[in-house]
Each structure stands twice: as C-alpha cells, then as structure tokens.
C-alpha cells in the first residue's frame, strides 16, 4: 500500500513557515536611501532632472504632506491632491514610484535629511554634470558595442541588451525584462535625466546588478547616443520578434518530436523479443 505523504507535507510546511514568518526588514540610513532610490530623478540643489530639485522642499510643503506623499505618491495623485497632480504634470506625466522600504519612520528621517542637506552650501547630491556636447557617429558606434556587449563595460556590468530592447535593435530584438528604451528620453526628460539614471540606477534590480560595476563616465555618453538615435529613428520595438521567437521554438518542438519518434520507432518490437529468442537459442 502506498503511503500518502500529503498530510506530512502540509504539516511540515505550515509549522516551519509559521515559525519563521515574522522577518524584520533592516533599516537604512537616509543618505544611503537617497543614493539608492532618489538621485536618479532628483538633485538637492542641482536643478530638476525627472523630478523636482529637492533643495528647500520642506519650505514648499509642510512635513505632514511630504510624509504622506512619499509613502504613496500615486494615491495622492489619484486622490486629486492639486499639488501632487501639478508635480506629475511637471514631470511630463511620470508618477513617482512607491519606493520599497519607504514607511512612516523612513519618511520622517528623509524629510529631516532633506532639510539638513538643503541648508548646506553644496549638497553631496547636487548632481554630476553630464556633458552637453553634440553626440557623434563615433559615440553612436561605441554605444552600440556597449549596448550589445560586443565591447565589455569597463567595470564588468552586464550589457543593456540582456534586459532591454529598442526599436533599432535587429534580429529577435533585445531583452524584455526591463522596459523598452526607445522612448526613454521623452519619458524621463532628456539627456540629463537619462544620464542621471545611468549614473545611479533607481530600480533595486539595476542597483544590485551594477553594484561594484558602475558605468564609467566615458561609457554614459555613447549609451546616450544609442538612446537618442533610437528615439530619432522611430517607434518602439513591436511584438513581431516575440512571434518569430515562438514560431522558431514551435518548429524546433515539431522537429524534436519527429526525431524522438524516429529514434524509438522499433520500441515495441525490437527489444524484448530478440532477447528472448536469443536466450532460447542459447539454451538449445
């Protein structure tokens, strides 16, 4: 009689998950939090990027409003808060994301941090300068190599094509784990904003992947040239490359099944009988 282990499984899983479920998240210093999550869209005294310059933000709105807003910006906009809607319009429709780890305690700490940084003559987050020189064909060629990974990034980070695609990427396209970058200039607000993102990526995934492998300043302009070129050349990548990919897979599946069928075509007649007959002949 076979034993059914389902009861043991549920019991073991339930008990252990129940025991370890309370799992406290570690607290983070406000400056580290800002570096990881905010500086790709905001400066403190360096002017607007995608979001507003946060120097003196505590003078513009009171602490209670700020605390509530940063914990859930979308809720404030959806709730019709006039100032939140204005912020979204000024950011060309980009909604500030709810940052993982942002809670009431962190919101209070961040506001105190912004207040203190605003009082400094120059904040450490005043923003780095992305060159505004015209981008050349040489930049574009180098940008393509870096984007595809045919030229390795100096600090060993993975190439953009692994997770991102653009309208100008040929073949079966680039990756689609992250967003299509064709129109990222329009989305984030131009060279300065996209450059700031490349200096300090705002998503946890990119932060982790590029930790210890930050892009070099001389790699950022060529990548921006690639993005600018894609935006100039036309629409975002379409779904046709996915269809081609799936059709290729389905064709391979059909071929695979035919090969498996052919390889074992004699499976019902060619194994046991010859062995038995061979054995009987051996006995005679």
């Amino acid at each position: 009689m076979r034993r059914n282990w389902m009861r043991e499984w549920y019991l073991a899983a339930g008990v252990i998950v129940g025991l370890v479920a309370p799992w406290p998240a570690g607290a983070q210093k406000p400056a580290d939090f800002f570096r990881q999550n905010c500086m790709s869209c905001h400066t403190i005294g360096g002017g607007r990027i995608t979001g507003p310059d946060l120097k003196g933000v505590t003078q513009r709105k009171d602490a209670a409003w700020l605390e509530k807003f940063v914990q859930n910006p979308k809720a404030a906009i959806d709730g019709g808060d006039a100032y939140a809607v204005q912020l979204q319009q000024e950011a060309r429709g980009v909604i500030m994301p709810t940052i993982p780890g942002m809670n009431a305690e962190m919101a209070k700490a961040m506001i105190a941090f912004l207040d203190a940084e605003s009082k400094l003559a120059k904040s450490q987050f005043a923003g780095g300068a992305i060159s505004d020189r015209p981008l050349t064909a040489v930049d574009l060629a180098l940008g393509r190599e870096l984007f595809y990974g045919t030229k390795k990034l100096a600090n060993g980070g993975p190439a953009c094509v692994n997770c991102h695609t653009m309208g100008t990427v040929g073949g079966l396209g680039g990756g689609r784990l992250g967003p299509d970058l064709t129109l990222v200039y329009a989305r984030l607000g131009g060279r300065k904003a996209v450059g700031a993102w490349l200096v300090a990526p705002a998503t946890p995934t990119m932060q982790s992947v590029f930790r210890g492998a930050a892009l070099q300043p001389e790699e950022i302009l060529p990548l921006l040239a690639m993005v600018e070129d894609a935006a100039r050349q036309g629409p975002a990548a379409n779904q046709s490359s996915l269809v081609k990919f799936f059709v290729a897979g389905f064709g391979g599946l059909t071929l695979g099944l035919v090969l498996l069928g052919a390889a074992w075509r004699g499976r019902f007649k060619a194994v046991r009988r010859p062995l038995v007959h061979g054995g009987m002949r051996g006995e005679e």
């Binding site: 389902m6 990756g175 982790s208």
Partner: protein
C-alpha cells in the same frame, strides 16, 4: 508584492524548502525505503507512456541543466550571449526543450486521466505535483517568451541572488522588483523542492544511471498468463 511577502517567499521560503528537502529525503529513506523511486507505471501501460515520458524527461533535464550552468557559470553565459546570433541560438534551443517538457507533461496528465489502470494508481498528491509542475513549466515558458532573454538576466540577476542565499547573506534586491511571473516561477520551484521528499519527484536522487551501460536483462515469467486465472 509587499516587502514582507518578498522577504518571506524569496528569502525565508528557500531555506525552509531546502531544510524540508534534506530532512524529508533522509526521513523517507530511513522509514519507507521501498517507496524511494519514481513509482513507475510503465508496466501498466506503455504506449501513451512514451509520448509523455520521453519528451518530458529530455526537456526537463536539459532545461534544468541550463539553469544550473547559468547559476554556476554566469560570466561564461554572458560572454556567450554577447554575440546576438549565439544568444538567439541558446534561447531558441532552451525554448524548444521547454516546449518538449510541456508536451510530455500534458501527455502524462492525459494518460493518467484517460487510462483506467493508471488513473487508479494516481494519488491526490500526484495530482498536486502535476498541477505544480504544469504551473512551473507554463510560467517558465511565459517568462521565456514575454521576458526574454532569460539566459542573460538569470546570469546577471538571479545567479547572484541564489549565490547570496548559498552564502547565507540573502540579497533580495536582485529579485524584489522582477515581473510577477518571474517571481511566481521562482517560488513555485522552491515549492517543488520542498515537496520532492514526499512525492515521486524523489526519484531525481536515485536515477538508475547504470541502465546506460549495464548489459540488457531478460525479464522472464515462470508461467504463461491464462485469462481468468490469477
């Protein structure tokens, strides 16, 4: 997915799953050693069996091997994928083996539903395993098609996440914001690992590798089968 859910399902759960796997496999081996197999139903029906067993196992073994290689040698995979044609060849091959897995799995479910002798020996726990495996394979294929290129971003983001678990220094940030289907695929994999000791999946640990090189054996009955005589 909230921060707490991420911590629970992507940090705590993998450790729980591995603990259950190690303790469970040892417990079962000591207490019910003769159940430590795939509990094959080949002798009960072996015509439909071929079209489920063969595509499924060729598919899943290859796909699993691919995951293991990307985990162990992420930089080599990224280097291979730095030429687009090589990337596409790798990804299409992986998709083909994933589709073979799904074909075999569907074949297996149909066989267990339609062949009376097989249906009788299929327990509710088996159906749980089939359901989870189906989810695992379908979510994997969804991710392969709609979030390409998995071989690359697995190497760049998932491999370091898994290594952070191995080193007991979990870093959730690699995976916290990944698309929901990717996360469900990961969580479902942990669930399968945790269930393995209590199901027929345990046969992964006792693969009859010597079958590949041992001499063929003839299985002989001492008497002929006579209808109506047991």
């Amino acid at each position: 997915m909230s921060a707490a859910a991420n911590q629970l399902l992507l940090v705590v759960f993998p450790y729980v799953a591995m603990l259950i796997f190690f303790l469970g496999t040892i417990y079962r081996y000591r207490n019910a050693p003769f159940t430590y197999s795939s509990l094959s139903s080949q002798f009960l029906e072996n015509q439909q069996h071929f079209w489920s067993l063969v595509p499924f196992h060729y598919g899943i073994v290859t796909v699993l091997a691919g995951h293991v290689v990307a985990f162990l040698l992420p930089r080599h995979i990224l280097a291979w994928n730095s030429v687009p044609l090589r990337l596409y060849v790798l990804e299409i091959s992986a998709l083909i083996f994933g589709l073979l897995t799904l074909t075999g799995l569907i074949g297996s479910v149909i066989r267990r539903l339609t062949v009376p002798k097989i249906k009788i020996v299929t327990t509710s726990l088996d159906w749980h395993v089939f359901l989870l495996l189906l989810f695992q394979v379908v979510s994997g294929l969804y991710v392969a098609v709609f979030h390409p290129w998995g071989s690359s971003w697995f190497s760049a983001a998932l491999s370091p996440y898994l290594w952070s678990l191995v080193k007991f220094s979990p870093d959730i940030n690699f995976v916290a914001m990944l698309p929901i289907m990717v996360k469900l695929h990961i969580i479902s994999a942990y669930t399968l690992i945790a269930m393995a000791p209590f199901t027929r999946l345990v046969h992964i640990l006792v693969m009859p590798n010597p079958y590949l090189w041992r001499k063929p054996q003839v299985v002989r009955w001492y008497r002929r089968f006579v209808p109506g005589v047991s």
